[in-house]
Symmetry: C2
Subunit: 301 residues, 2 copies
């Protein structure tokens, strides 16, 4: 069942389709750029759909993040909560959701970080005004046995399964360990944010219960991915711990496995424009739980 005014229909056809983006990437704004945000960086974001700001958080702050992460990994209330997602094969912790608000996985430190002006000033500038937190999570890719995360556009899921109307959102990933191509750093297809891949299939009930371990719907076909990668190439977000990656909600991204001894962890916040609040899911199914998509709290931060 399709909602009216669905600008980006997906999972309704039996083959992939490309829908050209109509929403801006840099949204009109009279906000002045923060000190650490150069014109070059903003232009890179506009053209490639992402930008990497090195060393936005210092070494002391990263140490505090890691120590908070270690605490959370040992908190059985968190491990047994629905907010904790484990690897399908090994049972290792893969993600903890909803770290920013008052739920089992709540972390005062990470909640404060989600509101840190070094991040939110940049987000407000790009999204052109007031924002709220759509989703937050801690991602682990353990050493030796870290599994791949297949190619996807965040917006495709947020649109179809959460009812986010337009491309007025972005993600921000704070690197907690050095990320390099060896240990499964995020790969992005630069420029792919301008094209929306309408995927095949129909969303099953409670898709999120399996999709967070291995996504099977909302996955672009081999043909679509070959098209994007040969047109735009593949970039790898290699950077030191403390650096921050900002990426558009529709840029195609994924990561390979990690057999190196070096874990890859990051802190992930997704922000949405206040005037782009989520409605009924476009797939017509029951909305995903609050820890995957804020509905109860969509007030500006």
């Amino acid at each position: 069942m399709q909602q009216q005014n669905d600008l980006y229909p997906s999972r309704i056809n039996d083959k992939d389709d490309i829908i050209w983006r109509t929403d801006p990437v840099l949204h009109p704004s009279d906000i002045h750029p923060a000190e650490h945000l150069t014109e070059d960086l903003l232009q890179h974001y506009q053209e490639k759909g992402y930008m990497l700001i090195p060393d936005l958080f210092n070494e002391k702050e990263v140490i505090a993040f890691i120590s908070e992460l270690e605490r959370m990994k040992q908190d059985s209330a968190i491990l047994n909560s629905p907010q904790a997602i484990t690897e399908m094969s090994s049972g290792d912790l893969r993600s903890v959701f909803q770290i920013h608000c008052n739920h089992p996985a709540f972390s005062p430190l990470f909640s404060k970080t989600a509101r840190d002006s070094r991040i939110t000033d940049v987000v407000r500038l790009i999204l052109g005004g007031d924002i709220y937190i759509h989703q937050s999570r801690l991602n682990f890719k353990p050493g030796f046995r870290g599994k791949e995360f297949y190619w996807h556009s965040d917006f495709e899921t947020w649109h179809v399964e959460d009812g986010m109307p337009a491309m007025g959102a972005l993600s921000c990933s704070i690197l907690l360990t050095d990320n390099n191509a060896h240990n499964g750093a995020l790969m992005l297809i630069p420029g792919s944010h301008r094209e929306y891949i309408s995927c095949t299939g129909e969303t099953p009930d409670n898709h999120y219960l399996s999709s967070l371990k291995k996504q099977e719907y909302g996955v672009p076909s081999d043909q679509s991915l070959s098209y994007l990668a040969s047109k735009y190439g593949i970039d790898c977000a290699e950077a030191k711990a403390g650096s921050v990656l900002f990426f558009d909600c529709n840029v195609m991204h994924g990561s390979n496995s990690n057999i190196t001894p070096c874990p890859r962890s990051n802190l992930f916040f997704a922000y949405n424009q206040i005037n782009n609040r989520v409605g009924d899911p476009f797939c017509g199914k029951t909305p995903r739980p609050e820890y995957l998509c804020s509905r109860q709290t969509m007030t500006p931060i």
Copy 2:
């Protein structure tokens, strides 16, 4: 059951151990270096346990290799032979063994390439004299769904399961596609060839039937790998198609998965010194089949 004179025992204890290499890396030789082999390259090989020679084969030759590879992928006699190894989960072709001699997977082109003087002159110089082909194979890491190949020392398996007495062998990998960190290029721990990790466990009967898909014995512990990687770092063998990687039989290596659309394929030949011929396996089990370890033909090439 241990053979006498086992310089490198493995899979006999319940924890990993390090045995320092006693064999040379560059074996004494009065052979003159080939034109494409510089002193710098040889020194790199000596210190790091590997060297990469760019563009040893030209574009036309690579095209011929790829076309031969495509032919073999469609040959049902090959696909149904024991020489063909498929991925455990997807059933996709992962390797074809014994491409150099008269068996189902035989390829006149690859057999000739195994004897190409651009390769064999280098191998004879490093190994210090006459050589024979211990093993040959074609490796595929398909795009989108190519799986990781976990860390291992080739020599550990060749010693324990094939009865190769000493470290008098090396491998040569001819890149058939561009290899980069994105698409699962080989990672090597530079310098690790000087330390032999004696692994835990006992070799099961017919271990090769599963080990070629997923190795469970002869696998270094997390602790040993952390030790090596923090001591030596990790290098990634990134190079264009037509380049050739030569690596010592005891250098620790492995590769991550490949979700990019770009397959990673290579042609792999392992050479052994004539005076280092294999004997009874040091694990006391039945020898592996001829397509994994030459026994019937150990004559100089």
